[in-house]
Symmetry: C2
Subunit: 168 residues, 2 copies
């Protein structure tokens, strides 16, 4: 199973403002939404789940099968699972025979997948913004990674999508 | 005078590892060096000055006129000035009739120029690397900025240069 991380960031690598605000462009939302609809699943952390749930975002991205990595158990339905670890999240999706898994934040979740070397590809939609403070793409953790640029393409005049493979 | 910030970063917005290591590609160094040789000046912070001085980097980039923004005074020559603030740094270069000023780190210096809305353009050479921890392109400060993408071009197969104007 191919494991893909997809996030939008500012030019300086933030995935949100400190207050979780994500003022991304329509073109970015559209690209992300299309991506999720193709892959049909999403792995997220508990904070991201709460934010997406509050703004009714799951229906906007086609109600993907959702795996939340969380130590905490909470109410859920048949289109939803809780995993205690990144590896367990991938195991759940493999058992459901998904060809690809989509990791979509937040920073702590992204970082834990990178630390365990579980990510194969990264898509970053670079928005034409700088935040003076914000939430990092990868929260601080002990890992480094080398990438290979697969493609850089414009999603709009000012938003560019960088697609990388992770070298292992 | 046009004020340009030029830095190399990882995909997640770091300009160096925590230990100041910058394992950038030859193509990136070459592009930066060429840029400095054209503009013929550089504005940097004291830490960056010390790092560049130690590795004899000034001669490699054509011995640009160097302005260090620092509260501290220290030995210097006629090709060198100390400024107490970002604005004073620009004033010094204006008086010397430079057409462009080049801001080149580190994160605290970059951030203080952004906070005071003194930057006109940004060049970011995005290296195909992720650091789990590092030094941010802009150290935490209270500002946000909107940009316009001027150009995205490959410096090599895996290194992409993003060139932005800052909207004011």
């Amino acid at each position: 199973m191919q494991v893909i991380l997809y996030m939008a960031t500012t030019v300086n690598g933030y995935i949100a403002k400190e207050n979780n605000e994500t003022p991304w462009s329509d073109e970015e939302w559209e690209s992300f939404s299309k991506f999720v609809k193709e892959i049909k699943n999403i792995i997220i952390g508990k904070n991201t789940y709460d934010i997406m749930n509050e703004s009714d975002e799951f229906s906007k991205i086609g109600n993907p099968f959702t795996v939340v990595v969380s130590k905490e158990d909470f109410a859920h339905n048949s289109n939803f699972a809780i995993a205690k670890s990144p590896k367990e999240a991938l195991k759940i999706l493999k058992e459901k025979r998904f060809a690809k898994a989509l990791i979509a934040g937040g920073g702590m979740l992204n970082s834990s997948f990178m630390k365990e070397k579980l990510v194969d590809e990264i898509y970053i939609d670079v928005e034409p913004l700088v935040f003076g403070k914000g939430i990092k793409l990868f929260s601080d953790n002990n890992f480094d990674a080398k990438l290979e640029l697969v493609e850089a393409k414009n999603l709009s005049k000012n938003t560019i999508q960088l697609h990388y493979k992770i070298l292992k």
